[in-house]
């Protein structure tokens, strides 16, 4: 059977803060036909359930809630007359940028000049962190609880324990307190909080919710419904310490134990995935290892602030539009690796001769009064160096290199 595909200059997969920005970036960079494909009935992605404020400080220069941020971006998309397909799912993405889509209008086959991956991420589940115990109701991820409370008007329980101090868990601790749920504590296996400091203060300290570091849930008890969880301290190797167990009666356990980029489609297209980020390996234009396929937002690497996902989206969209128009500079490239105390640095490759490239990076542990340097792997030459009073693993950082890149680079603490 011969199928003749429709064509679009740029197709964006995912209509959240990164995808909407990518569509706008592509349009503003001159792409004629831009299509956004969104699985949910409404644009905005995870922002729709993030009713708390604190969004938009960098993009809109004011602090607004997630739904407001989503609507404002979506209104721009409508104003720019960008084609939007909601309630549609991309079934397959081929390396030649042919997309197979299950849409409201049925099956569609689209050949894209360039594709922007903006599918976001998923939460780690109980299975992925391997918590022993029974399998009762009442164990759910923090984001699922957020969806239930904010969008479905459902009560998740009466007494909750939260495992993991990711931002969604911290936000949900406060949200549950607002709903009259008793939150008995947030337990974090690492010696530091995983979420932003402002969330620790505003969501936990304001309401007297204990944050217990170096501790984890070692058992879940209850037959039909959670009746209690057992928490224990952990040693430096993150192994529970026998004798430190404590039973906490509760009917709900929320998990805020990490996010994983949702790259099933990317893998089908043959995109190289970084084991450090769980997202695509990209160059300084945010193009993946598959020519014409770009990536941005949480599907590329986990962001702590929606604004940064959007800024990445704008850039990916602009670059996708340029690729679709045939303006590409395929040259030789250098690899960029993570050095001392740096978990990852992105982009992972860079064209030789490129200048003015900014790297995103995360550190492996909290650091004080350090200098981060971008250095040449062979020459040892310093391409950029920046001082930090304090850096936390929860904060995505940026460092810009003004000089032209002439070799493989390493981003790390300057010792």
């Amino acid at each position: 059977m011969v199928e003749s595909p429709e064509t679009r200059d740029v197709v964006v997969i995912g209509g959240g803060p990164a995808g909407l920005a990518a569509a706008l970036g592509a349009r503003r960079a001159g792409a004629g036909s831009v299509l956004v494909i969104e699985r949910e009935p409404r644009l905005g992605g995870i922002l729709n359930q993030c009713v708390h404020d604190g969004f938009g400080l960098f993009l809109y220069k004011e602090t607004i809630s997630g739904p407001e941020y989503a609507e404002r971006l979506a209104e721009d998309v409508v104003r720019e007359r960008i084609e939007v397909e909601t309630g549609a799912m991309v079934l397959d993405l081929a390396p030649d940028r042919v997309l197979r889509i299950n849409s409201r209008a049925g099956y569609r086959l689209i050949k894209a000049g360039a594709v922007v991956l903006a599918m976001g991420c998923r939460e780690r589940t109980r299975d992925m962190v391997g918590i022993p115990g029974t399998r009762p109701a009442g164990v759910l991820t923090a984001g699922s609880a957020q969806h239930m409370v904010n969008l479905q008007n459902l009560r998740v329980g009466n007494e909750a324990v939260i495992l993991g101090s990711g931002d969604i868990g911290l936000i949900m601790a406060r949200r549950l307190v607002f709903e009259g749920v008793k939150v008995k504590g947030v337990f974090e296996i690492l010696p530091w909080a995983n979420g932003l400091e402002r969330n620790v203060r505003q969501c936990l300290m304001d309401f007297g919710i204990p944050l217990v570091l170096r501790s984890t849930v070692v058992d879940i008890r209850g037959r039909d419904r959670v009746e209690s969880v057992v928490v224990a301290g952990v040693d430096d190797g993150l192994t529970p310490i026998p004798g430190t167990e404590r039973v906490i009666p509760c009917d709900t356990l929320l998990l805020s134990v990490g996010l994983i980029p949702e790259n099933e489609l990317s893998k089908r297209a043959g995109v190289e995935i970084s084991p450090l980020t769980g997202g695509a390996v990209v160059d300084e234009t945010l193009m993946t290892s598959v020519p014409g396929v770009f990536s941005c937002g949480n599907v590329l690497h986990i962001h702590d602030v929606a604004d940064w996902a959007s800024f990445e989206g704008f850039a990916a969209g602009e670059n996708a539009a340029r690729f679709a128009a045939g303006r590409t500079g395929a040259g030789r490239s250098a690899r960029v690796s993570a050095g001392p105390d740096v978990r990852y640095a992105l982009p992972q490759t860079v064209s030789l001769g490129a200048s003015g490239v900014a790297w995103s990076f995360r550190v492996t542990r909290p650091l004080r009064d350090v200098r981060i340097a971008v250095k040449g792997r062979s020459s040892g030459k310093v391409y950029a160096r920046k001082k930090y009073g304090r850096i936390l693993p929860s904060e995505l950082q940026k460092i810009e290199v003004r000089k032209a890149v002439a070799e493989d680079l390493e981003v790390g603490v300057d010792e």
Partner: protein, 138 residues
């Protein structure tokens, strides 16, 4: 103000940078703030120590639409102790669609001078079913 601690360490929450501020009380009873990376840090720290203010967000059930809920927040921060009294006022709300983003649902809530506003647009009817990219203006 004898109950003030000599040193209070707090994290500025005005932006995601989260500066670590150190507030000390001097002999004259004045407050000295250190650690701020921008000029907003000083008034923030003084207010945070003397009278902390917060915004709050929640969502309320809405009538006349397939969307179950409309999210709301305050138009500005209120003294922290007002959070629960205001939540009790918001809990009484049963707004009817259509609702537009920014619409005032409770004006000057409990005399605080701030409003409870809707943070999304909710159309009448079965707005979740169509292919509308957003709830475009009703």
């Amino acid at each position: 103000m004898s109950d003030l601690p000599a040193v209070d360490r707090l994290t500025c929450v005005l932006c995601p940078i989260g500066c670590e501020l150190e507030v000390t009380t001097d002999a004259a009873g004045g407050l000295d703030v250190r650690g701020n990376q921008c000029e907003k840090g000083v008034p923030f720290a003084v207010e945070e120590v003397l009278r902390p203010k917060r915004n709050l967000a929640t969502s309320v059930p809405v009538r006349g639409t397939a969307d179950r809920m409309v999210s709301v927040r305050l138009s500005g921060p209120v003294p922290r102790e007002m959070i629960f009294p205001i939540l009790a006022e918001i809990a009484k709300l049963r707004p009817e669609a259509p609702i537009r983003r920014g619409q005032v649902l409770i004006a000057d809530v409990l005399g605080t001078g701030v409003d409870v506003i809707a943070t999304r647009t909710v159309l009448q009817g079965r707005s979740l079913r169509g292919n509308a990219p957003i709830n475009a203006k009703p």
